[in-house]
């Protein structure tokens, strides 16, 4: 399942709001995506994990990231719509049975959900958004 994702366009958008978003995440000692484990993830299952994480951001994260700044809201909208555009391509792979989920991908995804649900929803959403560069680094290697 090879997909063109145009990561640098998303990275540019995120780059303009990264400092502000990460500054709103006071918890240093907890991570939702946890970089190390994402990077050491097995290549085989990465299609399923990538799609699941994209859906996680669409379903749970972006909607709780409303800020008082119109500029930041517009940038978040751009990122969210880019995620949707990529997720739709993954959906096609899934429909053609090229994006099946192994046990490891499922476990990893559930770990991410547990990390997320241990925190207050707005704090967790802002932390997940602040960890976008971790996800983009990993998707870029996908």
């Amino acid at each position: 399942c090879s997909i063109s994702m145009n990561i640098h366009e998303i990275r540019d958008g995120f780059g303009t709001i990264k400092k502000v978003i990460q500054a709103r995440d006071p918890i240093r000692t907890a991570s939702i995506l946890h970089p190390h484990s994402l990077h050491n993830f097995q290549i085989l299952d990465s299609c399923c994990l990538a799609r699941s994480i994209l859906r996680f951001y669409l379903d749970k994260v972006f909607r709780h990231c409303e800020t008082g700044s119109l500029y930041i809201n517009r940038k978040i909208s751009g990122i969210a719509n880019s995620f949707l555009s990529i997720e739709k391509k993954f959906r096609v792979c899934q429909d053609e049975n090229m994006c099946n989920c192994g046990e490891e991908a499922i476990n990893k995804y559930h770990q991410i959900i547990r990390n997320y649900e241990q925190m207050d929803v707005t704090l967790a959403a802002m932390k997940a958004l602040g960890e976008l560069d971790i996800l983009l680094n990993w998707l870029e290697a996908y």
Binding site: R11, K19, Q22, A23, R28, T29, A30, S31, H34, P35, H36, H39, G130, D133, I134, N137
Partner: protein
């Protein structure tokens, strides 16, 4: 007061923490202590080389050498036995936040060709034998832009500009100046007498010494 503006400055993955001293405190008596944390873990780590230091920077490359992780650092100031609260840095992502130096390169020319040998910048090295790593081992899609500058063409352009624009302009200005000088000399310097048949007509009452100006008209003879 606490240290200010704590932030990482990274080049080729050599990650150095910088900060500003607390406001309004004489710097020479201050000493600092630095800790760093791998984002998402719970332990703040003390860097041995960054303890009780007086400078306002410290090299954390060794502690932050896993470039896939993210980091925070914090600094505390000590003065005469009392200490400030910690000041933390923004989150630091080595892969995206490091600045890449230009590559080293060498030129060699053959009869009809030039060879450009390019080497990726070296990164900070973890091992003591200082065996360098290279950036392309970390960034698989490292790309290079090579530009060629034709100095001969530039001198030709300079000559063209000189002959084509500068000299003609100078000549024209010179000619204008010389002709103005001649006209001026003709009018003012050679004491020319007015023809005798012209009479000065004064058209407003005034005393002689104030009426230097007026029209010269032929007299009614």
């Amino acid at each position: 007061p606490s240290p200010r503006n704590v932030h990482f400055v990274s080049r080729n993955l050599k990650n150095v923490l910088h900060w500003l001293p607390p406001e309004g405190i004489p710097e020479d008596k201050l000493i600092y202590s630095v800790k760093y944390l791998v984002y998402g873990t719970t332990r703040w780590i003390q860097d041995a080389e960054c303890r009780n230091i007086s400078q306002t920077w410290c090299d954390l490359s060794r502690g932050t050498s896993d470039h896939k992780e993210l980091y925070h650092a914090r600094v505390k100031a000590f003065l005469n036995g009392s200490c400030s609260s910690w000041t933390e840095s923004p989150r630091f992502n080595p892969l995206t936040d490091t600045k890449i130096d230009p590559p080293a390169f060498a030129l060699s020319s053959a009869e009809k060709s030039i060879s450009v040998i390019v080497a990726a910048p070296k990164t900070w090295s973890r091992n003591s034998r200082n065996e360098p790593n290279y950036l392309h081992e970390i960034y698989p899609i490292l790309q290079y832009n090579v530009s060629v500058y034709n100095t001969k063409k530039k001198t030709q352009e300079a000559v063209t500009i000189l002959l084509g624009y500068i000299l003609p302009v100078l000549l024209t200005v010179l000619i204008i100046l010389v002709s103005c000088c001649c006209v001026y000399r003709y009018i003012h310097i050679t004491k020319q007498k007015y023809p005798t048949n012209l009479v000065r007509v004064l058209y407003y009452p005034c005393s002689i010494d104030k009426c230097e100006r007026g029209n010269l008209l032929p007299s009614e003879k």
